[in-house]
Symmetry: C2
Subunit: 407 residues, 2 copies
Amino acid sequence: MLHANVERLKASLVDMAKIGATPGGGVTRTALSDEDREGRNQIVAWLQAANLAVRWDDLGNIYGRLEGSDPSLAPVLMGSHADSVPGGGRFDGIFGVMTALEVARSIRDLGITPRRSIEVVDWTNEEGARFEPAMACSGAVAGRFTPEYIYSRLDRDGKVFVEELVRIGYKGDAANRPQAIQAYFEPHIEQGPVLEAEGIPIGVVTGILGLKWMNVTLHGVQQHAGPSPMRSRHDAMVTAGRIIAGLRDMALEYPDPAVATVGRIKATPGIINQIPGEVVLSADMRHWTGQGHEEMGTKALALIKRLAAEEGVKADVDVFWTCPPIAFPDSMVGLIERTVRDLGVPNRRIVSGAGHDAQYIHEIAPTGMIFVRTIGGKSHCETEDIHWEDAQAAADLLLNAALELAR
Amino acid sequence: MLHANVERLKASLVDMAKIGATPGGGVTRTALSDEDREGRNQIVAWLQAANLAVRWDDLGNIYGRLEGSDPSLAPVLMGSHADSVPGGGRFDGIFGVMTALEVARSIRDLGITPRRSIEVVDWTNEEGARFEPAMACSGAVAGRFTPEYIYSRLDRDGKVFVEELVRIGYKGDAANRPQAIQAYFEPHIEQGPVLEAEGIPIGVVTGILGLKWMNVTLHGVQQHAGPSPMRSRHDAMVTAGRIIAGLRDMALEYPDPAVATVGRIKATPGIINQIPGEVVLSADMRHWTGQGHEEMGTKALALIKRLAAEEGVKADVDVFWTCPPIAFPDSMVGLIERTVRDLGVPNRRIVSGAGHDAQYIHEIAPTGMIFVRTIGGKSHCETEDIHWEDAQAAADLLLNAALELAR
């Protein structure tokens, strides 16, 4: 088995963490920001230093190509994204880009020229934290979104995606998109507590949970908190409270890794002595089977309608994003699993709870994901962290698996 | 029985509603704003036109004095406040000031010179919507707050109370505060649905609910919504949901008019796919007896601690305002009740659920309140409304009751 240079990988991750570093030890490197530009410039410099041919496409996705002996063959693609959420961590996304870079460097070091080309990729705007939707530019490459749609997205300050893309100097040519992809590998931190709880460094990802995102708007009657007897109320906040608790209880009826989460809530007018007339809350529900995914949505809707009716409150439910569960092909899951076993690294199959660029690229190419254990299961926060031995395992795994397909 | 001129009262209320009028039919006339200045200028002009001696004190409380035949006697005070919440209604507060003004005008019309002086008052910053605390300037007159404390209050934009008071031209002399008060009457809209539900125009207010205001800060563990199994969570939002529902259920165990309300909630980071690490919510609890008031607070605290412990979440509870229930003196309640009966107007005793300037003035003078029915129980909103027949009843009641004490 071949081995990558984890010290070099670590050094690159440490250097990248300086770009957009936050006082609390994390990074803020949102898509198309000055920090994203600085990060891209660094990535491009490293790709070039590794003697890869660098290009970027009309969406700013950056590719570094290690030319194979038969350039006419579809390349093996590997990578992830360099953007972060605000106040995010040092590993989410960038770990996959840096591990892919390290694998390319190691192939160079080893003097190997694979038959197929191997490309490192940094997908633009995976997080969707600045411009919605998330995974915008892998989605565009997969044909899910037109460039015009992505270009017209606005951030909260009204800045336009395409203008920001041009501003940072990364609007390239559509012809630079991959024409065909033999296979896509994405290494990523788990972002959850499962591997750590079981003392396992590597997760072989079998698929991604299906997801439903909804906004629930509760229209009650705004009244003064003091003079409104309890039984006369149509309280949007009480309804929201019962829905939040009810969705959690509903999710508990399913086995892991099914989940339901309320992350966002806004009460109007939102003052201490007014019964809110309106409460808007989000619900995020995920399941690993198509049937479970639909059933959770249906049950949630029924629950919300029933509780709202009990409170005399009107509920408008807008299911604004549905993403069915996906299963990565057995060929990719099997290859990753065999390779990690051959490396002697403890591993388990796992379903990804989070969406990743892999879920769109899956639609156009055989795709596999490699998870590394996340300390404390923490992600999207400044204290996101990993064990360097796990990074070694992930890089070795990617190196051997990618070469297996490229030879 | 004497009668006031409800047409004139109506005209004045309609004119006042133009000052700070909102497109939806309400008013935004927050304390010490340009609109408050315009409202005050109008009130002063009307007081002077009614041949009252106008002055304002160091807190901007405005007084219009109808001199009695024995000016050495403590005056009978009557009024309320002219400030509103943002997007508030045309009656909350200003109804009491305009009714008191109308009573003074009617006394002039009737050619009566009472023995005691009668004073109309407009208290500054009752709502506390711009500068906390609420009822700031009646509280200062009652000795609850020093002028220095009130002067230093900041609004959300960092503007200073005293600078705004000077800016609008209403910083007067502390010597202009009332030196002694024989009695204080405050007419006000009910702001609740009780009178309307029973078809009764006038409420004889026996007291004001005791109140506890708390902020509950729930410290959970922020995690990504996807990869975090339900049983591994310490979800501050779920805890908040259960507390909101639990406080409502607790309040339902008490008879009316005991109430508990959650009006404000903030989840951090407040994004759809993150389990919030922190949720802050408010709780407002009210009861009419001292014992019930304390018991509700104790029960709420125990409930919050128990639910937080069940979720593995830390709860910090800050009871930042406690106001014991008050009972107006029998002399005032009895006078108001006798007078409204003599007028032949249907009435009932009622406890005020909301705080009013009357609650501070109660500490320094015999105080009574008169409620008028509120259409739909709505207040602090643009659709706040009353029946003009009820305004007639309230004005007649105040005219006769005030003269009774002033003769």
